[in-house]
């Protein structure tokens, strides 16, 4: 009997002590903040313009940011977030995808010199501006792949970055790190892109890369003035009013290509 009594009394006493401390010293809880934070994707990609998910969540709570700035958040979580914050769900911009606008892999592009140094694009551009012939081409040393929070970028063995559209969430981290500025963010609805970023003259381009856009205007003639722009020797797709995917066949340089490989869904719709 005595041991039971002792344990009970001890338990009650300690519980009382805890209760008292909590009563007098407890810190206010932050339920909404925790809930908002739990909805964040946690990739800390910085695509929202804030320093990581936590920072964005704090900005949301302070009312300084709007839901929808985060591209990596799933639609379901976004809806929850809007409900939580008590704001009407705004029309969120169309999902984006990043595209490496360069076709200059080792089979097509010329290297001007052997680069000896740190294997990273950011380092390579510091040495004579990078050893790849075309100064607008992808260096293929993988700064973007290392920075991608979603593992969507593959560095091909022939030294060019390839973004897998189904993994990319359009956070834009690769866009800001790329020293050659060859990665562009485009709406997912755009079916084709010009895989070349060099505004150089025809002769100079051909000297360095056999897959460069030569500004032949065939695509523009085939699709119309407003769907494809030609700027000097470089064609670019009008992302607001893009041409459809069949246009790729007219490009003689094969640098106008589709972004997404035909997905299962698209294949199904074709079958129907």
């Amino acid at each position: 009997m005595y041991p039971v009594l002792l344990l009970t009394i001890l338990g009650v006493l300690l519980a009382l002590a805890i209760g008292l401390v909590v009563r007098y010293f407890d810190a206010p809880e932050d339920a909404q903040g925790d809930a908002v934070r739990s909805l964040m994707p946690g990739a800390n990609c910085g695509g929202c313009g804030f320093a990581g998910c936590n920072d964005y969540a704090s900005a949301l709570l302070r009312g300084e940011a709007k839901p929808g700035a985060c591209h990596a958040m799933s639609a379901e979580n976004l809806e929850k977030l809007c409900r939580l914050l008590g704001v009407a769900q705004e029309a969120v911009g169309e999902p984006l995808v990043a595209v490496v606008c360069c076709s200059g892999d080792d089979n097509h592009a010329v290297h001007r010199a052997f680069y000896n140094g740190v294997n990273d694009c950011l380092n390579a551009v510091l040495v004579a501006g990078g050893a790849k012939g075309c100064s607008y081409g992808c260096l293929g040393l993988g700064s973007c792949a290392r920075v991608c929070p979603f593992g969507a970028i593959e560095i091909r063995p022939d030294h060019i970055a390839k973004i897998h559209p189904n993994l990319c969430r359009g956070c834009g981290k690769c866009v800001s790190i790329c020293p050659r500025k060859v990665i562009k963010l485009v709406p997912r609805s755009v079916p084709v892109m010009v895989y070349c970023s060099s505004p150089n003259k025809f002769a100079m381009k051909k000297q360095f890369c056999s897959a460069a856009c030569i500004g032949c205007r065939k695509c523009q003639k085939a699709s119309g003035e407003d769907k494809i722009f030609i700027n000097g020797f470089l064609a670019s797709v009008n992302t607001e009013d893009p041409p459809d995917a069949s246009i790729v066949e007219v490009c003689p340089a094969k640098c106008l290509r589709t972004i997404c490989p035909p997905t299962a869904e698209a294949a199904e719709s074709v079958q129907k």
Binding site: L6, L10, G11, L14, I18, V21, D26, A27
Partner: protein, 191 residues
């Protein structure tokens, strides 16, 4: 004086709780990624251990021993320590938000930290007085903090190492801890 000196050296170096007695490994591995959190955790452990050492030996001497209830020791000690940690947690949350955040889930872990309970039981087993128990537990806490500090500084360096994929994370941490434990075994006989 000499007795206490031996006790303290013994608890810190020779029978270091983490590296020699292998107690309290969870927080040791969990909170040792950064030096700053390791320092905070070390401080918290020293505090909790000293406090619980005093409290449990008090309970041991006043409540249990006189009444032939030594067999209740483990459960009573757990009760006392759990309550103590709860109180510390609440106080920390109130008075030191950054430390509370840094410790995160590890503070409740101290509750079930075998190092805390272990030190209390060692004191009871070896029949230490209240003063001696408090000193012993405090020194054990210091030993824990020291191991944590050393380990954290090594792990900060490991962050930059190219550890093979299969050993990343806890594996390499345990390997490092084992080497550290081997090094500490050299102190055998010192205290």
């Amino acid at each position: 004086m000499g007795e206490y000196f031996t006790l303290i050296i013994g608890a810190i170096l020779v029978h270091n709780f983490v590296l020699s007695r292998i107690l309290g490994i969870c927080p040791f591995l969990g909170v040792s990624k950064k030096l700053s959190t390791a320092l905070g955790m070390g401080g918290a452990v020293i505090f909790v251990m000293t406090l619980s050492g005093a409290a449990t030996s008090l309970v041991n001497h006043l409540l249990l021993r006189g009444h032939g209830l030594e067999y209740l020791r483990t459960i009573v000690f757990i009760l006392v320590i759990a309550a103590l940690v709860q109180i510390v947690e609440v106080l920390l949350q109130r008075f030191s938000k950054p430390l509370y955040k840094a410790l995160g889930i590890y503070l409740p872990l101290i509750t079930t930290n075998c190092a805390v309970l272990g030190s209390a039981i060692i004191c009871a087993n070896d029949d230490y007085g209240i003063m001696k128990s408090t000193v012993f537990c405090g020194a054990s806490g210091v030993g824990f903090a020291l191991a944590l500090l050393l380990f954290a500084s090594v792990r900060e360096k490991l962050e930059l190492a190219r550890v093979p994929k299969c050993l990343e994370g806890a594996a390499i941490a345990l390997l490092t801890a084992s080497i550290l434990a081997m090094a500490f075994s050299g102190f055998a006989g010192l205290g």
